[in-house]
Symmetry: C2
Subunit: 374 residues, 2 copies
């Protein structure tokens, strides 16, 4: 992992874990935390949840337990998570990212308890509580959700937004591109990741007015050296590895993510069905087992569990709700890499640089005609 | 295949084939036509293209050759296809669907030469030429492109629109739902196919304003008996077979189609790589071959080649440009089924019924507040 000058990796990384979230709670999160601590000797954890439920961890090294009396259920509304359950494990874990550590505005700023937080709780609640407690970074209108999908060249494509924003302006898409670039720079160590704008054809003239205008903004930002803009990409480019980052609005991103999950699950089911259809197939399955296992490992979605909530003044990572211990451990590792390589500072730096550029270049950027004073 | 009373299947079906379109032209289309004729004894074909290139077919039974001096290339612009190449095989094939058979407006109406037309030419050009020559059905603002995707219960989900319309109003989405219902009724013999609205959550409150309003329109149409509305669906429902028809705008539809193609292709590539990685894998591949072949056949995209251009006053089917003879034959078969089961009459009947309902129910349909005379 490379970090630019002035952004040396953190020596010690502390992660707050919502141990009660997700479909399985501590039965999954505690074994994941244990394995994570073993493989990350400089990491520290703040385990948040019901003290009794977390008793098994009370003597673990590099671990602190924070009691929280409530749990945000997977089907709790945003309203309930935000207004009713004020002592939820999710909320207390996010709060650990705040300087001052309390809900009270104007509280004295002290160093935050943790550098990142991980929860498998419900996405809507997590985003709402995180946004309420942490606020957005200056220059970012809306936080976005980013995850990775595997591509055919044994790497990953980062896709955002995945559902935080159903209606996006061209400016939002530009902000997603900048935040995604910071994420990939931090987690994958690529200083100038390539950004593609998801469209329905490679030609710049295709797509809706929003997409066309976003293309102009991204191109201008690319020309100004703020990001490495490749141009338009199509859905299949995600799996070809054409670019490092694919930017789209949250409606499209959510559809493509769920479509991909559905297709992969169907194809996996078909393979299983065909290899159990009669005695010869079962024999073939036995012989082919090492090969099939290798294939399965290669496409195992648990390996890239852990979506980043970007644009907040704190690093929040969302694990799949149904994650098992192995999957949850990967989400912890992604949060660790992001915090260690100072993702938050990178987002601040990139967006600050862009804000400056936008202010000074406002006159030359392509754009709708500005209203003029009469 | 069932057809409602008054819509008896056609006895003889005649299909106009753009034999020059696609990546391979007559090398693919002619063998496909030959196989199709053999398996459809009551079908007739009009083979359109350069007479010399189609010489092999000149003595085929139930076949007529129509010379066309030009070919729309895969990278020709809509402008070129529409204005310059006025004697293209694509255009002449579509023209065969028009009563009067000529470009001249006000021409005497006579029975069209063919009931449906199939082309593997470029989609943009095909839609533009078809729209220009055939016009849209009354009550339909915009034609849509519909295709099927396989689902895990060994059936197909019909998805539309796939890219003809990047920005859709709620009314467009309702029209897509009605046309999709007519298509599935005709081709799959399901009189009341279930319609789902693609969204990012099953709850009615999710999604953009357009999607929410479309949900209201579809629900009202369902309540009025115009279609069988299931509610919101998500991307993975396409492969679960939750509904028969998934409705979305052309941007989303195109992204989900290409994402699915890209993912399927990557996974297929991974399977191949793993089964050729060293001597043991090669042996396993040999043993597992019959199973893998069965899997491959099951997910073979050639089997469901042939997208319908819906909403035009003529049945136009689009084959994949890279189709081989087997795939092109499937597109011919889909066009045949649609024509035989009178898809055009069904679209007319359904949309006519809905138009009446909209006019008489305008006051009670949920909708934006109507402007009132002062």
């Amino acid at each position: 992992m490379s970090t630019p000058a002035g952004l040396a990796p953190l020596g010690k990384v502390r992660i707050a874990v919502d141990c009660m979230g997700g479909d399985h709670g501590p039965a999954v999160t505690l074994p994941a935390c244990k394995a994570f601590l073993a493989s990350h000797p400089s990491a520290e954890l703040v385990l948040v949840g019901n003290r009794a439920a977390l008793a098994a961890a009370q003597d673990w090294p590099r671990c602190e337990i924070r009691h929280a009396s409530e749990v945000v259920a997977m089907d709790d509304s945003v309203e309930v998570a935000l207004r009713k359950k004020r002592d939820s494990s999710m909320r207390v874990a996010i709060q650990a990212l705040r300087p001052g550590r309390s809900d009270e505005p104007g509280d004295a700023a002290e160093s935050p308890l943790a550098h990142a937080c991980v929860s498998a709780g419900n996405t809507g609640a997590l985003m709402a509580v995180a946004r309420y407690l942490l606020k957005t970074v200056e220059g970012i209108d809306r936080p976005a959700i980013a995850t990775v999908m595997p591509h055919q060249n044994n790497g990953y494509t980062t896709v955002l937004d995945l559902g935080a924003n159903v209606d996006c302006t061209p400016e939002h898409l530009l902000q997603f591109a900048i935040m995604g670039s910071a994420l990939v720079a931090a987690v994958e160590g690529k200083p100038q990741p390539r950004v593609g704008l998801l469209n329905i054809g490679e030609e710049a003239i295709k797509g809706s007015e929003t997409i066309k205008r976003a293309g102009e903004l991204l191109r201008a930002a690319g020309d100004a050296g703020e990001l490495n803009f490749h141009g338009n990409v199509e859905g299949n480019d995600i799996f070809k590895g054409t670019v490092d980052i694919v930017v789209c609005d949250g409606f499209v991103g959510n559809v493509l993510l769920k479509t991909s999950e559905g297709l992969a699950s169907m194809l996996g089911g078909f393979i299983k069905q065909e290899f159990t259809r009669g005695p010869y197939s079962l024999l073939a399955a036995l012989v082919a087992r090492p090969v099939l296992e290798r294939f399965k490992r290669r496409v195992d979605p648990r390996r890239y569990n852990g979506a980043a909530l970007l644009g907040l003044r704190g690093l929040v990572f969302k694990s799949h709700g149904g994650a098992d211990a192995f999957a949850f451990e990967q989400a912890l590792a992604r949060a660790y890499d992001a915090a260690r390589n100072r993702l938050l500072d990178r987002v601040h730096a990139r967006i600050g640089h862009s804000l400056q550029a936008w202010q000074s270049d406002a006159a030359v950027l392509p754009g709708p005609v500005q209203e003029k004073a009469a």
